[in-house]
């Protein structure tokens, strides 16, 4: 099995005590360092992850998967020893066995971001939403809500900017920002398991779906009129708050 010493795995987790340890152990078997960012869980997620060998960051208040992912990226990039950063969900949907596939696709395509996508997992409503956003954004990505992504250092430096700090979800907002900054994103089809416990944080009720849709539409509109450019400042500026 190939070992990836220069890869940091970032796992945002909220009340995922049942699955987090297994994912951490599997990811660590690839030689990667694993950072679990506990989004202020009410259960023992942090302890479980720690005992499985992950370094755990606990957010002082619940602030969403994207904020947790950013916290992990900031912590990992400060270590200075990683070239690649992979985000994964802690609910068991993403299999660490796909890490080599993401790495190989990244090196063979020279892309800055590789998205592990599984279009088949969506319900009809979700697919209609994806198609609508696909039409509105013209982003050449079919599974926009996948949390299984590989970023290189350049992409992470862009995602650690004040522009990105206001996103609430880790899907469309960051992808649009990356496109504005001329970052190359590609998609790799993978298989995803269904959730082993609980339900999606975004798609758990009509109210949260509506909030998600409204916020995403606003980001799409903001992207239309946003200034694009190559430079977003350095992550050290972000860290100097």
């Amino acid at each position: 099995m190939q070992k990836y010493k220069n890869v940091a795995i970032i796992i945002p987790a909220l009340n995922e005590v049942l699955t987090v340890a297994k994912i951490v152990k599997e990811a660590r078997s690839y030689g990667c360092d694993v950072y679990v960012v506990d989004d202020n869980s009410e259960d023992e997620t942090a302890d479980e992850a720690r005992s499985a060998g992950a370094e755990v960051l606990i957010l002082p208040f619940r602030s969403g998967a994207w904020n947790a992912a950013q916290a992990g990226m900031l912590y990992a990039i400060k270590k200075g020893r990683y070239d690649f950063f992979i985000t994964m969900d802690a609910d068991g949907q993403h299999e660490p066995d796909h890490i080599p596939l993401l790495m190989d696709s990244c090196s063979s395509s020279n892309a800055n971001v590789v998205i592990g996508s599984c279009v088949q997992r969506g319900s009809i409503a979700r697919r209609i939403t994806w198609s609508a956003f696909f039409f509105l954004t013209r982003l050449n990505i079919h599974d926009m809500t996948s949390g299984f992504k590989l970023y290189d250092k350049k992409a992470v430096e862009i995602l650690l900017s004040k522009e990105a700090a206001m996103f609430d979800y880790q899907d469309l907002g960051p992808l649009l920002l990356l496109r504005r900054k001329r970052i190359k994103c590609i998609e790799v089809p993978i298989s995803m398991c269904s959730r082993e416990n609980g339900c999606s944080r975004i798609f758990n009720s009509w109210i949260s779906v509506s909030i998600y849709l409204i916020k995403t539409c606003v980001w799409v509109f903001a992207d239309w009129i946003s200034k694009s450019g190559y430079s977003s400042g350095k992550w050290t500026d972000y860290d100097s708050i």
């Binding site: 370094e55 755990v56 960051l57 602030s63 904020n67 912590y75 004040k162 206001m166 972000y238 708050i241």
Partner: protein, 120 residues
């Protein structure tokens, strides 16, 4: 002079008193103080000298001068709310980044503590 003529000066007078009290108790930041002092002194001048509005209105060619203070007040309130929202967004960004940094420092502390306890 009727009772109604005293309404506007009375309202403006009490507004001035309230703002000065808040400034005296240091409840407002320096730029907020400047903004509110300007607002209340404008209210005070219009409250005590309503003819000022007619004079400025005629000067600007406004057909119905009493509408001028209302339009100006709305404009100032619009600017105020907009700047408040911008400020709030900046503060929220800072709070989010601070939360991320705090989580990182706690993780670092935890690591140091475990390392020192295993060394002992």
């Amino acid at each position: 002079m009727t009772l109604f003529d005293l309404t506007a000066p009375a309202i403006s007078f009490f507004s001035v008193l309230m703002i000065l009290l808040l400034v005296r108790r240091q409840r407002l930041g320096i730029f907020h103080t400047v903004w509110w002092l300007f607002a209340v002194f404008s209210m005070l001048s219009i409250g005590f000298f309503p003819s000022l509005v007619d004079w400025i209105g005629q000067l600007l060619g406004i057909h119905y001068p009493p509408v001028l203070p209302i339009i100006l007040a709305l404009c100032f309130l619009f600017i105020k709310v907009l700047t408040m929202d911008i400020e709030r967004t900046q503060q929220e960004i800072k709070i989010r980044i601070l939360a991320q940094k705090m989580a990182a420092y706690e993780a670092e502390l935890h690591k140091l503590k475990t390392e020192s306890s295993t060394e002992q």
